[in-house]
Subunit: 198 residues, 2 copies
C-alpha cells in the first residue's frame, strides 16, 4: 500500500470532523482540493478559521455582526411584546423563513436534559425570566421541538414565568404535504387532539 503524505492525511482527518463527512468523502474532497490554486485554499481555510470570531447577539443569542443581531436591533420588532423561544439558531432561521413571526427571539441553546447535566442554570433560564419581566413581554411562544426533554423544558419555563404572561406552544399536527399513511401514530394522535372546527 502506498504511503500518503502527512499533508493529505491531516486534511482528510480535518474534513471528517464535518457532520456527514466520512473518510471516503473526505478523501474525495482532498483529492479534488489537490487541484486547487493556493489562493483558493487560503480563501477557504481563512473563511473557516474566521468562524471563531463569530459574534453572538447579547440579547437573543443569535449569530450577529455587531453586539445585536439584525432582529434585535430592529425597533419595529422590539416594540412587539412577543418573544419566541427556540432551541438553536437553525430553528430560529426556520421560523424566520416562514416570515410570519414579527416579534423577537430567544435562543435557549438546548433543552433540559438531567442525564447530560443540562439544568435550568446551564440554559440561563433565570436570565430569560428577568428579561421577559423587564421587557414587559405579554406573549411567549415556545417553539421547542417535541420530545420528552422539549416537553419538560416547556413545562419548566411555564412554571417560572409570571401568570400574567401568556405562554403558547407551537401547534403539532400533520405537516403540509404530509400523508397520513406515512405519519407516525404520535403525530396523528396530536393532529386529532388539535383538530379545528371547519
Amino acid at each position: 500500500m502506498i504511503q500518503l503524505p502527512e499533508v493529505i492525511k491531516n486534511a482528510v482527518e480535518a474534513l471528517t470532523r464535518l457532520p456527514g463527512v466520512g473518510e471516503k468523502t473526505a478523501f474525495r474532497m482532498v483529492m479534488n482540493m489537490t487541484n486547487w490554486k493556493a489562493t483558493e485554499l487560503t480563501t477557504v481555510s481563512s473563511a473557516l478559521s474566521s468562524l471563531q470570531y463569530l459574534k453572538i447577539c447579547q440579547q437573543c443569542g443569535m449569530f450577529a455582526d455587531e453586539n445585536l443581531c439584525s432582529i434585535c436591533s430592529s425597533e419595529g420588532r422590539q416594540s412587539i411584546k412577543c418573544i419566541c423561544i427556540v432551541e438553536n439558531a437553525s430553528d430560529l432561521m426556520a421560523i424566520e423563513k416562514s416570515g410570519h413571526f414579527k416579534g423577537v427571539y430567544h435562543i435557549l441553546g438546548g433543552v433540559l436534559n438531567p442525564l447530560l447535566g443540562v439544568g435550568p442554570d446551564e440554559l440561563k433560564m433565570d436570565e430569560l425570566r428577568e428579561k421577559i419581566i423587564k421587557r414587559e413581554i405579554q406573549d411567549v411562544i415556545l417553539a421547542v421541538n417535541p420530545s420528552v426533554e422539549g416537553d419538560a423544558t416547556c413545562s419548566y419555563l411555564k412554571s417560572i414565568l409570571p401568570t400574567s404572561v401568556m405562554v403558547d406552544r407551537i401547534g403539532f399536527g400533520i405537516p403540509i404535504g404530509g400523508s397520513l399513511e406515512y405519519l407516525d401514530p404520535m403525530t396523528i394522535t396530536k393532529a386529532l387532539e388539535n383538530r379545528k372546527r371547519f
Copy 2:
C-alpha cells in the same frame, strides 16, 4: 428574512467549493462548526491550507513527502522494468490497493482531449517516452479508463513508443460481483471479446 453575519456567509461559500457539497449541506456544516472550539477551527483550517505545500514526486507525479514518492524511492520497485500509466492519483491508489502491481507508475494528469485543448504537449508525453527509453522499460501497462478520449490516448502512446516496448492495456469485462443483467451492452461486448479458454 434574517441577515446572517458575513463570517457565516463566507464559510458557507467556502464549503460549497468542495465537491458534492451544496448550499444546504454547507450551511448545515457551518451551523455545526459554530459549536466548535477555536483550536478545532484552527486545526482544520490549517490542515486544509497546508495542501498548497503538497509535494509532487518528480518521477511519477504522485503526491509525495519528499522529492520522490514512497513507490519511486523503493529500489525493489524501480528494478522491475514495468511502468503502469494512469490518469490521476486516485486511479494509482486504486491499483495500488489491489496489491498486484509491483512496478512503478506514471501519472498522465489527464487524457488527450482536443476540445479542451489537452494535447500530447500538455500531458508531457515526450518526457514520458524519454523516461521509458532511458530507464529501459520493457513493459508498459496502460491503465487508462475506457472512454473515447482514453482510447485515443492509448493509441497515441502506443504510436510514440519504440516497437521493442511491450504495451498492454488493462482488461475490460464483467466486474467481480457484477451481474450481467445490469451491465451495459458495451461492457458485455468487451467481456465476450475478452473471453478466456476455461
